[in-house]
């Protein structure tokens, strides 16, 4: 596959997520989506870069800000929209919502409403992969806010101790809700990883190619060595903590600068400079719009699960 084809694929993948998030944002504003949703706009490069090197057997455990992570792993859009609209056609039949998106068929072990919640799930899944011996790995997506949770420490220790094939993927957007990261965590993640003899990598999320290259390298290494690694990617959180957060607590100039660090715009410029016609990119946009509208319609057409069916779901049988 030529480099340009790959770049176009990544462009499409990121735009797909962005457009889904935009659609979700509008649906939320319109009252079609209850509760909170946490948008991953600005952070698309991470999941797109990582997921290229994951198979359907590899597992991921994702955060409350998990749409990009889930979509990039293969979550069907109609199942996503239906879930967030609380409908039966949702991947969790409307019982989970944005913070509990899961899809067993693609190795998506669930988003989490608990900061740091993804970490032991991925570590446990990595243990399962190791016991299975089939060379699969688990990805623990987590935010910089989770660095302060003790469970992070416990999981790194365990994975290092037992050589579990777990990728600790820190999407560092600089914020934990309304507090800047540096008021939350005094550690240096690189040194922290080194203290456990765990390889650490960093890249800026602005450039999806950089993320992708690093991801390939890291994921290969985890498969070969069955050792955990830490990968930190710096990203920007465009839409605040949740949809509707006006981010009044941020300096407008800083916020504008942050929003300018857009991995999609960045790649778009690169593609145009490379000679890709704007019309090709516009065509992608159209195709995605159509895909998304179809998904939204499927979701809308779905009923809400019956109370009895919901009740029957409390225990597995």
């Amino acid at each position: 596959m030529s480099e340009i084809t790959e770049l176009l694929q990544m462009y499409r993948a990121m735009c797909r997520i962005r457009k889904v998030e935009e659609r979700l944002s509008a649906l939320h504003k319109a009252g079609d989506i209850p509760g909170f949703i946490h948008s991953s706009m600005g952070q698309e490069s991470v999941a797109v870069g990582i997921s290229r090197y994951l198979t359907v057997r590899d597992t991921i455990a994702v955060t409350h800000r998990g749409h990009a992570q889930s979509i990039a792993k293969g979550l069907a859009l109609s199942a996503l929209f239906a879930e967030l609209m609380g409908r039966e056609a949702g991947t969790c039949r409307g019982l989970g919502g944005s913070m509990h998106i899961a899809d067993s068929s693609i190795g998506l072990l669930g988003a989490n409403g608990i900061v740091g919640g993804s970490l032991p799930i991925a570590a446990g899944s990595a243990l399962a992969h190791k016991l299975d011996g089939a060379g699969n790995l688990a990805v623990a997506y987590f935010g910089d806010g989770a660095l302060a949770e003790g469970i992070f420490h416990e999981c790194i220790n365990l994975c290092a101790l037992w050589s579990l094939p777990c990728l600790f993927l820190c999407e560092n957007n600089g914020w934990s809700e309304f507090s800047p990261s540096d008021e939350q965590f005094s550690g240096d993640l690189k040194k922290f990883a080194a203290a456990f003899n765990v390889a650490y990598h960093f890249t800026e999320g602005l450039d999806v190619s950089a993320v992708t290259q690093m991801a390939e390298h890291i994921i290969d290494a985890i498969r070969t060595t069955s050792k955990p690694q830490v990968f930190e990617v710096s990203v920007e959180r465009f839409h605040g903590h949740y949809e509707g957060d006006a981010q009044a607590y941020r300096d407008p100039v800083e916020l504008a600068a942050a929003r300018a660090r857009d991995p999609i715009a960045h790649l778009r410029e690169h593609l145009l400079a490379f000679g890709i016609a704007a019309s090709i990119l516009a065509q992608i946009d159209v195709e995605l719009t159509v895909e998304i509208e179809i998904a939204v319609n499927v979701a809308r057409a779905s009923p809400v699960l019956s109370t009895n069916d919901a009740f029957a779901m409390v225990y597995a049988s």
């Binding site: 409307g94 934990s176 309304f178 809400v304 699960l305 109370t307």
Partner: protein, 323 residues
């Protein structure tokens, strides 16, 4: 004044009158917490008294406990009661037991604020009502105000109290308002309140249940049914004497709360009444709580599983129809 504002006022007043009262929690400073309860207090009291914590619930409660042993009176915000699961060691093994286990040498004047309850569609990890857990633990006090006036009084009382107090706030009540209470009706720890006096049946409740009961009273009045509403206000220790007095009058009881019915707070009330109130009972004790299922994300399913005044009316009528 809203319920949320009343809590803020109580915090502010307590902080003004005792400089050992400090606030600890995640995003309680600039952000004022997810429900805005602490907003403005950082500006007023500074960052030595309003301590904005990293996302580390175990350390949050654990250090609050350590500070309490050293003479401070921390009021801790645990954003959602569900997150208390990350701090149960500090609450249950440490703070609750310290006074006893250390032979009375130390007291633990600490308040743990936590928002419980559903109806804001955040799914199963942001909706639980776990007060029964805390009520089961000797050494803890558990309160849950149902309106702004009580929220103020109970918060002041909780901060004054030398024991760890779990202060349960109901999410749906934050924006509700109520008039201040007169002196004799001021909430104290351990004392319930007759919200409405009636003769046919006693409805024992707390938190969001009080409004459901009031709504039910209005509906049932149409049918000539005259209910007595008791707001427990404090769950541990609950006001058994008050409830027994009411039972002696009405002989019938319904207990209602937002928490899951099974093994919930209502179980204890019912069990005590089935013992010490047995001879006064003329009908089965009915409990109304949430169904035995996690909170569903889908609003319709979530609300079907929760109690409301309609279900409460039905339960009341059923008990009254017992012959």
């Amino acid at each position: 004044m809203t319920y949320g504002e009343a809590i803020r006022a109580a915090l502010r007043d307590a902080m003004c009158s005792d400089d050992h009262v400090i606030l600890m929690g995640e995003d309680i400073g600039v952000a004022g917490g997810p429900f805005g309860v602490t907003s403005g207090l950082l500006g007023e009291f500074g960052d030595q008294r309003v301590l904005d914590f990293p996302v580390s619930e175990a350390a949050l409660v654990g250090t609050a406990y350590g500070a309490a042993l050293c003479g401070y009176k921390p009021v801790v915000e645990i954003m959602f009661m569900d997150f208390a699961t990350l701090a149960m060691d500090a609450i249950v093994n440490q703070a609750a037991k310290a006074h006893f286990m250390f032979g009375g040498q130390f007291s633990v004047p600490m308040v743990l604020r936590m928002a419980h309850g559903g109806d804001i569609h955040l799914g199963a990890q942001h909706a639980q009502c776990l007060e029964a857990w805390f009520a089961h633990i000797p050494g803890l006090i558990v309160v849950c105000p149902s309106d702004a006036a009580d929220a103020y009084d109970l918060m002041r009382a909780a901060i004054e109290n030398p024991n760890p107090v779990v202060f349960v706030e109901n999410k749906t009540l934050y924006r509700t308002t109520s008039a201040p209470r007169n002196a004799e009706n001021k909430a104290e720890l351990g004392r319930g309140r007759i919200v409405l006096s009636g003769n046919d049946i006693s409805v024992v409740t707390y938190g969001a249940g009080v409004q459901w009961a009031k709504d039910s009273a209005a509906n049932l009045a149409v049918d000539g049914i005259d209910i007595e509403i008791i707001d427990l206000r404090t769950i541990q220790p609950w006001d058994e004497a008050l409830v027994l007095r009411s039972l002696r009058k009405t002989h019938r009881i319904v207990i209602c709360h937002e928490a899951v019915t099974g093994f919930g707070v209502g179980a204890e009330i019912a069990a005590r009444l089935a013992d010490v109130g047995f001879s006064d009972l003329r009908a089965p004790i009915r409990r109304l709580g949430a169904d035995h299922m996690p909170a569903a994300y889908s609003p319709k399913l979530e609300s079907h599983s929760r109690p409301d005044s309609e279900k409460l009316c039905r339960a009341i009528k059923e008990v009254l129809s017992y012959a």
